[in-house]
Amino acid sequence: MRFRNVVIFFFLVFLLIYPLNSHSSGLTPSGVGTKALGLGGAFRGLADDWSASYWNPAGLAFQTKSEVNFSFMVLNPRPKFTPDVTFFQVEKDRYEVGYRNDIKRYPEDKTFSLPSFSGFLKFPELNGFITGLAFFIPYRSSFEWDLFDPLPGYNNNIPYPGIDHKGDLTVLDFHPSVARQFMEGKLSLGAGISIQKGDLTLRKVDLVPSDFPYPYNYRAIENFPVDNNFEGDGWGVGANIGLLYKASPKFQIGVSVRSPMTLKLSGTRTLTVYLPNDSLTASQIEPIDPVAASHLRGYTLSSSFDSETKLKLPADLGVGVAIMPYSNLTVTVDVNLTTWSSLKELKFEEKGKDPLTGKEITEYTVPFEWKDATRFSLGLQYMPHKSLALRAGYFLDPTPTPDKTLTPLFFNSGEKNGYTLGVGYKGESFELGYSYEFSGYKEKFLKPTAGVKPESLTNLPGRYENSTHTSYFTFTYKF
């Protein structure tokens, strides 16, 4: 009894502390639910808690009671990026354009919490029918970097922004679900609807060739750096369905499908051109091209306009099994395919004006060209006592991001190996859970490609290193 009180006290302290530190950053979470993450995400074949609404809604049908749940995830991403953004025709001749090359950079470090909650009502008399609502955050990624400053000698009067690269994506999922048993409790089917709200900030540097006539387009003013910043939000709807079949008390299998989803984001895109300052060159260009000469005064030109884009989130198809060789031991295995190939690009449709040329802008594209990725997960649960569960897991998650679009905005730099530990305590009317995950990313050194122009750069070459630490807490009350 005393032990339980201490654990509850400890838990409540964290509930109070963590929201104070709450920020919006982190990697895309590995999933939701203490139990599921403690098993390395191998949960589709077990799916026996509230997080089944995310992994496999059919599992909800085997809940024995109604319940409410509150959880939160604490993320600590630890990325490092050492830029090598150089341009050349021949390998030995590399020229810089302003990136802080060969210096290990860190984003703005933050510790983040992602809350989730759910409530489900159980109707045992209706063949285990259960319905309810869950809220969770399936996608969360935020990195703010200081990677760029105009070349020495550019002499811009107005300092280039400190945070010059930012990728910030939050997707909130309001997820009503239903599930029911069939075949005398051997089979269950479940379905859910995803009502998702997305927020996206995308900020990066675009390099535009300067308009100074030769030979006045000398280094370091051959390119204008443009601060390109989009901020927008929007909604989308999708669904997931699942099946769970209990072949025997020692074996069960689950299959789930999550539909692709398109978030229609509306917002504002702002372009700010930082101009160089060179009054002598300006005076020489003035008779030839007065407009170009005006671009040598060191100020900024800015334009802001409405912009819309569609963020196409992937479908997910997964199958998992749970094997219980002993009453206190469970082994779970999952394989799932995420169709990231749906994220080909972000195409912004807009009506604005180029701040430099005054020409009309109708669209702008940021290429992604991500690839489908298949994840493998393995989990193990041991119960030394009927109230206590110890869990461990592993997963292997390849990156969907190809080299040609790899940037630190969304830090999917390399194959991810995840190792998890978890613990759960079950009381008469409540459950507590905790899990910890360490994800190590395979180090990636992306070399610059010969022949790429600064204005057509789609990736940021350099050395990518990353790891994440994730803690997940859950409190469930059953009634």
Partner: protein, 460 residues
């Protein structure tokens, strides 16, 4: 009892797992760059340029970069090494400051320790058609035509500025921006003209063990007129080497030609020379003659040869006329006007080395070949080892506008082994949309040049 142990362990582990990796990391601070300074010096009358027949200005300004730590008016404990940086075609002494950000680059590289502190002197050698090639443009009797730019560099400029800023003599007052005065000392008011072994003056150092060396100084004794005196001085080898190794000369384009010519004319004054995108093989220039004729529509209408508008020349035509001014002033006593172009009302002018049909005129062309660096180096006697210690750096863009890349390759391949061993050749490329033209990457090449010279300067 069991719980009393398990619970603290559990909590400690939990805290560690939650907070592991939470520490806030800081990005490296921006490097603090110590600031040097660029000083503009006005030379009201350059006596090596006065009376030039083209009427080019004989008053010139030059810029001097003084490194961080340089203290005005203080006798220095050591001399800063000096790099003379000659500008490119259609540029002037301020180009390295305005276009290529020499101060920013040097400040940064000195602060980061990539190069040692040095003074950089940037004289003005601009001429009527875009460049003087920093050579003495004279008639056959050595009387002045467009200006004695090589003498201007090696006599007037070095004397008036380098030594003044470097060490100096009390009482010499150099005006800086006409506001500040720098009082300095001169301990070496001479220019080394030649250095030979004391026991055998036909040989150059290194000499036999125990031998001394004989330094032949060229001394300027007055500032308002040029009086040259030859002095033989005996000194130690180490002094000589220190003196030489702390002087470098560099240039781009027409300044690159001038730098290499001056360094090879004064091999024991300069320890290192660098050449950026310069004409190094005049034979290759003949390949550009058809383009010259075409751009001036002479290939279709040969009679237009003498009707070229000298006030509206394209860059290639300017290059040919600037070279003609430097290398082939028209002999006033000559009555052959086949390739003559009048430049002054009094009838003075230059000869091009080819006629309206593009045929080479050998009498003129030979004058150019006399100035051709490849020819000059090939003509150096094999017994003359004076260039043995000169470190040479040559680079060129690929593609270069005027075929300088092939000229650099040809020049390099023709070098005698003893010189080639001390020569570094770099051919560099740009990137798509920004090709390595004549001056498109000088901003970047300057870093290489400064590193090259710094590596060969004697560390203080």
């Amino acid at each position: 009892m069991k719980r009393k142990i398990v619970l603290p362990i559990f909590l400690v582990l939990l805290f560690y797992l939650i907070f592991s990796g939470c520490a806030r990391r800081k990005n490296p601070l921006q490097m603090t760059v110590d600031q040097g300074g660029i000083f503009e010096i006005s030379i009201d009358t350059a006596f090596t340029l006065i009376n030039n027949v083209l009427g080019d200005p004989f008053g010139r300004t030059l810029l001097v970069y003084l490194p961080p730590g340089y203290q005005e008016g203080v006798s220095k404990n050591y001399k800063y090494p000096v790099l003379i940086l000659l500008h490119g075609f259609k540029e002037n002494g301020s180009s390295y400051d305005h276009y290529y950000r020499i101060k920013t680059i040097a400040d940064q590289m000195i602060s980061s320790g990539e190069i040692q502190p040095m003074m950089i002197v940037m004289p003005d050698g601009s001429g009527r058609f875009g460049g003087s090639f920093f050579t003495n443009s004279v008639y056959a009797d050595s009387s002045i035509f467009a200006g004695k730019y090589e003498d201007y560099i090696t006599r007037e400029l070095m004397h008036k500025t380098l030594y003044n800023f470097g060490t100096g003599i009390p009482g010499v007052n150099v005006k800086v921006n006409e506001k500040e005065s720098i009082y300095v000392n001169i301990t070496h008011p001479q220019i080394v003209r030649d250095t030979v072994c004391y026991q055998d003056t036909t040989r150059h150092p290194p000499c036999a063990t125990g031998d001394s060396i004989l330094i032949r100084y060229q001394t300027i004794t007055r500032y308002d007129t040029i009086t040259v005196t030859w002095i033989d001085t005996v000194t130690t080898i180490s002094d000589s080497v220190l003196f030489q190794q702390n002087f470098g000369i560099s240039g781009h384009g027409n300044g690159g030609y001038g730098a290499l010519r001056i360094a090879t004319d004064y091999p024991l004054t300069f320890g290192s020379v660098s050449v950026m995108s310069a004409p190094l093989d005049f034979d290759s220039l003949l390949n550009l003659v058809p383009a010259f004729l075409h751009r001036n529509k002479i290939d279709s209408f040969p009679e237009r040869y003498h009707q070229i508008d000298l006030n509206n020349l394209d860059s290639l035509s300017s290059l040919f006329f600037a070279m003609a001014v430097a290398f082939s002033p028209h002999n006033p006593s000559s009555t052959n006007y086949t390739t003559f172009f009048k430049l002054t009302p009094s009838g003075k002018g230059v000869d091009l080395p080819f006629d309206s049909l593009g045929n080479t005129v050998s009498s003129i062309w030979n004058k150019w070949l006399e100035a051709d660096l490849k020819t000059r180096i090939l003509n150096i006697s094999s017994s003359d080892t004076s260039l043995k210690y000169l470190k040479i750096y040559i680079d060129c863009g690929d593609p270069g506008e005027f075929g300088f890349k092939n000229q650099a390759l040809t020049f390099y391949n023709f070098l005698p082994a003893v010189i080639k061993n001390n020569t570094t050749l770099q051919i560099y490329s740009g990137y798509p949309g920004y090709p390595a033209l004549e001056n498109s990457f000088i901003y970047d090449r300057l870093r290489e040049v400064l590193k090259f010279h710094s590596d060969h300067f004697t560390a203080p």
